[in-house]
Amino acid sequence: MASEAVAVKIQEGVAVDAVVPAASETSAQRKILLKSVEGEEFLVDELFARGSKMISNMIDDGFTEGAIPLPNVTAPVLSKVVEYWKHHVGKSETDKDAREFDRAFVKDASSSVLFDIIMAANYLDCKPLLDLACQAVADAIRDMNVEQVRGFFGITNDFTPEEEAAVLEENREWSNALTVTGNGQKESNEGGNIVLP
């Protein structure tokens, strides 16, 4: 079937998926135009765009003309979100490719990327992506000690020494990692055997 390229108002740096034939496709494969904060436009299958509850509601409310502006999302982040939708929307929860995508997605994401993804997924109301990114953050900090978590999140300790001691005291009783050998001598911790503060 011959397909015609659609004349789309493309700006520099727009995502590759914008350049697709659309004229011969049925209404079920309608495209939605999304505009990032920089003004870059992304042409996305309506099916995928509905991966965002916010966008889905706007479409249902009759927002059909022009581009949907997303002033809270930058182009690089929107590009990643669209990638996520393409691998997940319409697929089953146990889809192997989707899970493989998630694994790679999380593995390569820096903490600043994760931050941006979380803010975008929250704004766009895309719960599965929000869960994925939040789980990645939780996994990153799970084995960190208190100082490391403070550094990761940029949090300053504002406890007074007395307050801090009181909180630590509550943990002391049961959080003693076992580092004693059979004959009672203390050993240094094996790698991975984290001693709690």
Partner: protein
């Protein structure tokens, strides 16, 4: 706020909750000392959130004397590490964060005991069957029930209910049994195996009625019942005529029959039995993780019912060869975060 590529304080509190609720409670307890607002965020997490499972297995007494105990040697699967926890006396059973001792409840995370009134006298030896904790999400209060039994010419049970603060004699099943195994809670009832005769029994916690659910049970040794995901499993060893274990298997009771669902792989069984004749092993479980221990192999093994994976825990730094096996699992309560 210090420079970071992940500024926590710029996130809305709903996102704080999303991230924190994906951490085990034991980690959240540690992170309380980060800052005042972080502590406040942790304290305001609704306890009903689905925190990741994080059981702690109290496996051995730290003292080799069978009469005294002051602390337990504990394994925490989520961190693959060993620690010690206070324990003032030998545990009977446990649920959630609480351990049932001879005349009190003990929370090893807070170190605080709660006395319970003595049970009503019964003619023969009484032993505890189960501790049941029901958390009321709306009132944030826990209802505790303890079921103890005596077996002579019949099974007689007694229940303690924290709602009334007292014990009542309720429930009876005629017929002699040689022994009862461990009890599990499923769908508002207790299930327990009897030995001699080998039956699956059920005690309805609401009506206090005992009944025999199944008169047929696989012919096994070292039987242990496990409840997980609304399903009832039997974990046990299959022995030859001389009592030497040939394998360890898991059956599921589908409310009619026992179906074999899993067997310990041969190479794992060889290592578990320590290349010796295995006559006995201990089992305990928590949140779908089943812990196996054999004194003859001096080795610990875990089966995770969530993915049917067998794995070897990191070796314990302590030699426990002569230490009594305890076999209870506890998990910190989200209420504890407050």
């Amino acid at each position: 706020m210090d420079a970071t590529s992940f500024p926590w304080e710029l996130l809305p509190s709903s996102i704080h909750e999303e991230i924190l609720s994906k951490l085990p409670i034991s980690v959240l307890l540690r992170l309380r000392s980060i800052s005042r607002s972080f502590l406040s965020s942790i304290r305001s997490l609704p306890p009903s959130l689905p925190f990741p499972r994080d059981p702690f297995f109290l496996l051995f007494s730290s003292s080799s004397s069978p009469c005294s105990i002051s602390s337990a040697i504990v394994f925490q699967p989520s961190r693959n590490r060993w620690l010690s926890m206070p324990l003032p006396s030998f545990p009977a059973t446990a649920s959630g964060p609480l351990i049932l001792l001879s005349n009190s409840l003990f929370n090893p995370f807070s170190g605080t005991p709660t006395p319970i009134p003595p049970h009503l006298p019964m003619r023969t030896l009484i032993y505890p069957l189960s501790l049941i904790i029901d958390d009321d999400a709306t009132t944030h209060r826990s209802r505790l029930r303890i079921v103890v039994v005596s077996t002579s010419d019949r099974i007689r049970s007694q229940i303690y209910d924290s709602a009334s603060g007292s014990w009542t004699l309720r429930g009876e099943l005629p017929g002699r049994v040689h022994m009862l195994g461990n009890a599990i809670v499923l769908n508002g009832s207790l299930y327990v195996l009897s030995f001699g005769p080998d039956h699956l029994l059920k005690f309805d916690l609401l009506s206090s009625d005992w009944e025999i659910v199944s008169e047929v049970v696989p012919s096994v040794d070292c039987a242990h019942l496990v409840a997980f995901g609304g399903r009832l499993f039997l974990v046990a060893g299959v022995a030859d005529l001389l009592g030497g274990m040939l394998s360890v298997k898991v059956w599921e009771f589908d409310w009619e029959d026992w179906k074999l669902v899993c067997s310990m792989p041969d190479e794992i069984f060889s290592e578990f039995s320590g290349m010796k004749i295995l006559k006995h092993f201990h089992v305990c479980d928590g949140k779908g993780m089943v812990c196996f221990y054999s004194y003859s192999g001096n080795v610990l093994l875990i089966l995770d019912l969530m993915n049917w994976r067998w794995w070897w825990p990191r070796k314990c730094p302590l030699q426990w060869h002569s230490h009594p096996f305890l076999g209870v699992a506890v998990e910190p309560n989200a209420e504890f975060l407050r």
